[in-house]
C-alpha cells in the first residue's frame, strides 16, 4: 500500500504532459465505451439492418440496399402513419399543456389540502401504462363500464358509446387519455417555475388595476415561456415515440386510424417478421425526432 501511494520522482514537463494526456484518455475511455455500447452500436446496427432484408426470428440477412427506404417512401403506410402520429402528438400535447398549466396555476394558489393535491396530481404519471390502460378500458367498456352507465343514467345518451372502435372517437379518446397520463410532467415543471415568479410583480399589477387575465398574460405567461417551450419540445419528442399507451388502448385501430409510426415499426418487426423494414422505419423516425430536437438544442445553447 505504501508503495502504491509513494510519489513518483519528478520527471520532465513533456513526460508529465504525455502522462496527463494518457490519464485523460484513460479516464474518458469508460464514458466513450459506455456511450458507444448504448448509443453508437444500436444506431449503427439499426442503420445496418435497414439496408437488409432480415427475417426476425432467425435474423437471417440479405442485402437490400435502399429498397426498404424506397418501398416505405413510395408506399402509403408511412405517410398515413406519420399523419396519424402528428394528429396524436399535436392533440395530446395541446391538452397536456392546457391541463398542466391550469392545474399548476391552481396548485400555486393557497387552496385547502394543497400538499395532498400536489401529490395526487402526479398519480397518473407514476401509474404503469398497462394498468392505466386496463382501468380506462374497463371504465369505457360498453357492457359494464361506469362511463356509459353514468351517461345513460343522466339521460345524455340512449345506448353505450363506442369509445375506442370507431372514428373519430378512438383518436379523441386516445388523445384525452394520453393527456391525462402525461400532463403531470407539465404540472411539475410549470409549478416549479411559478414559485420563482416574484410576488411583488402581481401586487404592483393589482395596484395598477390589472385584472386576473391581464396579470396572467403580462406576468405569468412571459415568465413561463422558457420552461413551457422546453417542456413542449420534450413532451413532443416523447409523445411522437409513444407506443405502449396507443398499442394497448386501440392496437392501432379501427383499421389503421390510430396506427402511429412506433406501432408500424412493431408490427413490421415482430408481426410480419421483417426486421430490416422495421429498422428502416425506425431510422426515418429517428431523423424526424432529430429534426424536433434541433430547436431544443439550439434553445438550450442560447440559454447557456
Amino acid at each position: 500500500m505504501a508503495a502504491l501511494l509513494r510519489l513518483r520522482p519528478a520527471t520532465s514537463p513533456q513526460a508529465l504532459a504525455r502522462r496527463d494526456a494518457l490519464l485523460g484518455l484513460l479516464l474518458i475511455a469508460p464514458t466513450v465505451l459506455i456511450l458507444s455500447a448504448v448509443i453508437a452500436y444500436p444506431l449503427a446496427t439499426t442503420a445496418y439492418l435497414s439496408l437488409h432484408n432480415v427475417y426476425t426470428p432467425t435474423l437471417a440477412t440479405e442485402w437490400a440496399g435502399l429498397s426498404n427506404y424506397r418501398a416505405i417512401l413510395s408506399g402509403g403506410t408511412f405517410w398515413h402513419a406519420l399523419a396519424t402520429t402528428l394528429v396524436w402528438t399535436i392533440g395530446t400535447l395541446a391538452l397536456q399543456l392546457l391541463f398542466g398549466v391550469a392545474m399548476a396555476l391552481l396548485l400555486n394558489r393557497n387552496i385547502r389540502l394543497r400538499a395532498l393535491a400536489r401529490s395526487l396530481v402526479l398519480f397518473p404519471y407514476f401509474l404503469a401504462t398497462v394498468v392505466a390502460v386496463l382501468v380506462w378500458r374497463w371504465l369505457l367498456n360498453g357492457l359494464f363500464g361506469v362511463v356509459d352507465h353514468a351517461l345513460i343514467a343522466l339521460g345524455l345518451i340512449d345506448t353505450p358509446v363506442d369509445w375506442l372502435g370507431t372514428m373519430p372517437n378512438a383518436m379523441a379518446t386516445t388523445i384525452v387519455i394520453g393527456a391525462w397520463k402525461f400532463f403531470p410532467f407539465v404540472v411539475i415543471a410549470v409549478l416549479a417555475r411559478l414559485q420563482t415568479v416574484p410576488a411583488h410583480l402581481y401586487e404592483a399589477a393589482r395596484l395598477d388595476g390589472a385584472g386576473s387575465w391581464a396579470r396572467f398574460t403580462d406576468i405569468t405567461l412571459p415568465h413561463l415561456s422558457g420552461v413551457l417551450g422546453l417542456v413542449a419540445l420534450l413532451r413532443m419528442i416523447w409523445d411522437f415515440r409513444e407506443f405502449d399507451l396507443i398499442y394497448l388502448l386501440t392496437g392501432g385501430g379501427p383499421l389503421d386510424h390510430t396506427r402511429t409510426l412506433p406501432l408500424v415499426v412493431y408490427q413490421q418487426a415482430f408481426g410480419l417478421n421483417q426486421m430490416g423494414m422495421a429498422a428502416a422505419y425506425a431510422v426515418l423516425m429517428m431523423l424526424l425526432v432529430l429534426a424536433m430536437t434541433i430547436p431544443y438544442l439550439a434553445r438550450a445553447r442560447g440559454r447557456r
Binding site: 479516464l27 426470428p57 363506442d162 369509445w163 372502435g165 385501430g253 383499421l255 408481426g271
Partner: protein, 441 residues
C-alpha cells in the same frame, strides 16, 4: 505523505475492476444447482396454471435436480413474443398450446426440434386418428405434437331466451341465426357478440365464416382464392350481424366475446368450450340453460367447418436441455398426468389421446359429467376441424398462416367493409393483394 490525484484514481480504478471481477465470478458460479426448464404457454387461466403446477410437481418429484418454471404468453401476443425470443436466443425449453400452423412455420425455418422420438415414446397409435396430421412437416417429420384439440367457433346459445322468443331449435343457417338474434334482442340484451376488432380473433373467426359459406382463402396449392362469391356472402352476413352485437364489439377479441355471453349480456355467442368453466365460476344461474352447436352455415347444404387451432407442444432448437424437455413432454402425456390439464378447462382443451374420454377420472369431473353431450359434440367437430394452416385435408400446409394472422389483413377486410362501409369488391381486392404479397415475401 501527500497522495497524487492520479494515483488515487488509479487505485480506485484497480479496486473497481477487482470488485467487478469478483462479482462476475460470483455470478458464474452455478455448479450444483438444479437444471431449470422454462415452459411457455398462452393458455394460462388460474385453473390451467394450477394444473400445470400439478404436472410440474409430478415431474420434479421424479427428477429432483430439475426445476420447471412456467411463464404465460398470450394468444394475441405470442407471434411477437416468439419472434423476439428467437431473435434474442432466449427461447424457452418447452412450448405448448400454440396453433399447429405456428409450429409448422417455426419448423420450416429450422427453429424447432423434430418430435418423432417423443411421438414414438408416447406411441403414435395412442393418438386419435388424424390428431397428429397437422404436425406432419413437409420432410415427413413431426414438428410438434397435439397436446389437445379445441372447437374454437361453437355457437353458444341460451335455451331459455330462445324458447321465450318462440324458437324451438338452435339455428343451423345464417338466416335462422339472424332471425333468432332479431327476436331475442331487447334493451340490455344483445342478440350475439361477434368480434370486429383489429385482432387475431376477428381474422380467425372470419376465416371460419368464409368456409361456412363454402369458400376458402387459398386453393389446395396455396394460390390466393379469397376473391370469390362465398367471401362476399360472408361479408354480407358479418355486416348484417353488427346490429345484434354490442357497440363496443368493434374492439372485441377473445376475452370480450367470452364475457359478453357468460355474463348474460348476449343471448348467443361464439367461443370454445371454455364457456362451460367460466359460466360455472362466474354466472352459475345460467348453467342449466346453455347449449352449443356447430356454427351455422350459409345453407343447410354446406357442412359445418369448425376452426380447431390444434394446440401444439414443441421444443425450440435453442432449448438448453432438449433431452430433459423431451422427457417432461412425454410425462405430460402419461395417463395419470394428461387428464389433469383437460380437467382445468373441461370442454376447452379436448383430448387427443384415445381412452381419455372414457377415463373414469376424466368423466368424474362435475362439468364433464354435466355437459357430456356438448363435450362429445365439440370433440367430434374438433376432430374434423381445420385452420388456416391446412384449410382442408387436400390443402398443402400453409407456412405463412401465422404471418397472415399477425398482419391483421383479414380483420382489416372486415373493418373496411363493416365499419367503414367500403365497397366489398375493393376491400376484397386489397386483401387478396396483401395475401399475395405475404405469401411471396
Amino acid at each position: 505523505m501527500p497522495i497524487a490525484r492520479r494515483q488515487v484514481l488509479r487505485g480506485l480504478g484497480a479496486g473497481g475492476l477487482g470488485v467487478g471481477m469478483a462479482l462476475l465470478a460470483g455470478c458464474g458460479d452455478r455448479t450444483g444447482g438444479p437444471t431449470i426448464l422454462r415452459w411457455w404457454s398462452p393458455q394460462a387461466t388460474p385453473e390451467q396454471v394450477a394444473s400445470y403446477r400439478e404436472q410440474i410437481r409430478a415431474f420434479e418429484s421424479r427428477n429432483p435436480n430439475v426445476r420447471i418454471v412456467f411463464e404465460p404468453t398470450s394468444d394475441e401476443g405470442y407471434p411477437t413474443q416468439f419472434a423476439a425470443a428467437f431473435a434474442a436466443g432466449q427461447m424457452p425449453d418447452l412450448v405448448t398450446h400454440l396453433p399447429s400452423f405456428a409450429a409448422q412455420n417455426y419448423y420450416d425455418r429450422g427453429l424447432i426440434e423434430p418430435m418423432d422420438d417423443v411421438v414414438a415414446a408416447i406411441g403414435a397409435d395412442s393418438f386419435f386418428p388424424g390428431a397428429l396430421a397437422p404436425f406432419r412437416a413437409a420432410d415427413g417429420h413431426y414438428c410438434a405434437i397435439g397436446i389437445g384439440s379445441t372447437a374454437v367457433d361453437m355457437l353458444w346459445y341460451r335455451q331459455d331466451l330462445l324458447q321465450l322468443a318462440g324458437i324451438g331449435a338452435a339455428p343451423r343457417t345464417w338466416d335462422e341465426l339472424r332471425a333468432a338474434c332479431a327476436k331475442v334482442q331487447r334493451r340490455g340484451l344483445y342478440g350475439t357478440a361477434l368480434p370486429y376488432g383489429m385482432n387475431s380473433m376477428t381474422s380467425l373467426i372470419f376465416i371460419s365464416i368464409i368456409h361456412q359459406a363454402g369458400g376458402q382463402l387459398f386453393t389446395p396449392e396455396l394460390d390466393v382464392a379469397i376473391d370469390s362469391p362465398p367471401t362476399y356472402a360472408a361479408l354480407d352476413f358479418y355486416r348484417s350481424m353488427r346490429e345484434f352485437c354490442p357497440p363496443g364489439a368493434t374492439i372485441f377479441s377473445w376475452g370480450e366475446c367470452l364475457t359478453a355471453f357468460v355474463s348474460g349480456a348476449s343471448a348467443t355467442g361464439i367461443y370454445s368450450g371454455r364457456v362451460l368453466a367460466n359460466v360455472a365460476a362466474q354466472n352459475p344461474r345460467i348453467a342449466d340453460v346453455i347449449g352449443c352447436v356447430a356454427y351455422p352455415t350459409l345453407s343447410r347444404a354446406i357442412p359445418p367447418w369448425t376452426f380447431n387451432d390444434f394446440p401444439s407442444l414443441f421444443i425450440p432448437k435453442g432449448a438448453r436441455n432438449p433431452a430433459l424437455a423431451k422427457a417432461f413432454a412425454i410425462s405430460l402425456f402419461s395417463p395419470d398426468i394428461y387428464p389433469t390439464q383437460l380437467r382445468a378447462t373441461p370442454g376447452h382443451i379436448l383430448p387427443t389421446l384415445k381412452g381419455i374420454v372414457d377415463d373414469p377420472v376424466y368423466l368424474a369431473d362435475p362439468l364433464v359429467a354435466k355437459y357430456q353431450r356438448e363435450i362429445a359434440m365439440m370433440a367430434k367437430l374438433a376432430a374434423n376441424g381445420h385452420n388456416l394452416g391446412m384449410e382442408s385435408p387436400a390443402h398443402l400446409p400453409n407456412l405463412r398462416a401465422g404471418e397472415i394472422i399477425a398482419s391483421n389483413c383479414i380483420a382489416e377486410l372486415v373493418q373496411r367493409v363493416v365499419l367503414e362501409g367500403e365497397n366489398p369488391r375493393l376491400a376484397v381486392g386489397q386483401a387478396a393483394s396483401r395475401l399475395e404479397r405475404l405469401m411471396s415475401a
